[in-house]
Amino acid sequence: MKTIAIVDYGAGNPVSVKKALDWLGQECAITSDPASVAAAARIVLPGVGHFSATNTLRHSGLQGAIAAAIARATPFLGICVGMQWMFEHSQEAPRTSGLGLFNGESEHFPAAVKSPHVGWNQIELSADSRLFHGLSSESFVYFSHSFRVPLTSDTVASCEYGGKFSAAVERDYLFGVQFHPEKSGEVGLHLLRNFCEL
């Protein structure tokens, strides 16, 4: 099955991600069915809203399907809260666990800056990345989030807002972006195309 599964867990707006992948000519489907997710060639986990919404993934069987697909090296892209869920925890919902694919947890912005961090900010590429192949450091991308992941050993792009944080993480076939590639114009479409062509 060649389809890219866009996981629908009842939060946020998977429609925007589908529009972008449609525009790129990629075969994709929005799904909340664990079997479809398990069979997909690639998986995108969109995310907007509250970290606790990811509880649905655990209860619906989607988490198991995702974990199994990842174990088979299925490329996986988490967006915004979807990226945060790839870590262990979030201060936004301390009783909700993430998948723990990456070490660490998402945290509040410091009080010195307005939160949420909303708008176009520049990223700085800090490591070789397949996801950002062909994109330059200092590209502008669109962010909309109240919590952030600190810099980690898997950070491939950082962003400055009240101190540096992880704009993107990458390891093997696992990719997470804090910003919204589906809302980041040409830069975002380029990144999504990279993911589709891995």
Binding site: V118, G119, W120, S144, E182
Partner: protein, 255 residues
């Protein structure tokens, strides 16, 4: 550095873009989907589509317009006008909007802000405030029903209330300046922007580049919105951003 956003606004009536001066004398400026794409290519950071005649319109016309516009737009896309219930908002999101802007319905039922925020996240809820200065008190009042009646809310207090109920952004229109091209109301914008932690989008009065510099620097706006000045010469948006950058305002210059 987080940049200041320039937002292009499309006022839509019956599926066509129009722009009123002080809410009257509507003028047709084209197809929303085509204009939105042109704005995006010219460097707009976001597009807002406001259905200005929502009360009288068939909603399916709007949803069709939203769907056609969203299909080819890959920057944030906000839709407002006539959204009264969670179901209305849900339909607009399903058609491809990233955010909804609510105004009169939020004043009538502030709980609507919370209901949409709980379902779609605060980042998806923009509360639009039409503010007008009272000659008697010199304070700003929030108006409802497209600026037709006073709500009884002080605009600053209403912005704080909207934030506490889950709004992700405030879209602040100065009714005194709207359509005048005489500059944003920096005093009003600053009063609101300094009272909330969420981003404030200034609207009403844009005419020349210096007005944007002023509202970012003196009005403390996070974003600024303009409609008619972009419609009749798209290239001017890129020029505007170059001018802002030369003035030291951080803006996104797409490659």
């Amino acid at each position: 550095m987080l940049t200041k956003r320039i937002i292009a606004c499309l006022d839509v009536d019956g599926g066509r873009v129009v722009k009123g001066v002080q809410f009257v004398n509507l003028r047709d400026a084209g197809d929303p989907a085509a204009l939105a794409k042109a704005h995006s290519e010219a460097g707009a950071d976001e597009v807002v589509l406001l259905d200005i005649s929502a009360v009288h319109q068939n909603r399916s016309t709007l949803l069709d317009t939203v769907c056609r516009t969203a299909r080819q737009l890959f920057i944030p896309f906000t839709v407002g006008g006539g959204i009264r219930t969670l179901d209305d908002a849900t339909a607009v999101f399903a058609a491809g909007a990233d955010k909804v802007s609510i105004n009169s319905a939020a004043l009538a039922d502030p709980g609507l802000i919370t209901r949409i925020a709980e379902r779609f996240g605060s980042q998806a809820v923009v509360v639009a405030i039409d503010a007008k200065r009272s000659q008697a008190t010199r304070q700003w009042e929030a108006f409802t029903r497209g600026g037709r009646s006073a709500s009884g809310w002080d605009a600053v207090n209403w912005a704080r209330e909207a934030e506490s109920r889950g709004a992700g952004e405030i879209l602040l229109t100065s009714m005194d300046r709207d359509g005048t091209a005489s500059g944003f109301d920096c005093e009003l914008t600053r009063a609101i922007a300094d009272s909330v932690r969420i981003p404030v989008i200034a609207s009403g009065g844009a005419g020349v580049a210096q007005h944007f510099v002023d509202v970012f620097r003196e009005g403390h706006a996070d974003a600024a919105l303009a409609a008619s000045i972009f419609h009749y010469g798209i290239g001017r948006l890129a020029d505007l951003k170059q001018q802002l950058r030369s003035e030291g305002i951080p803006v996104r210059l797409p490659c």
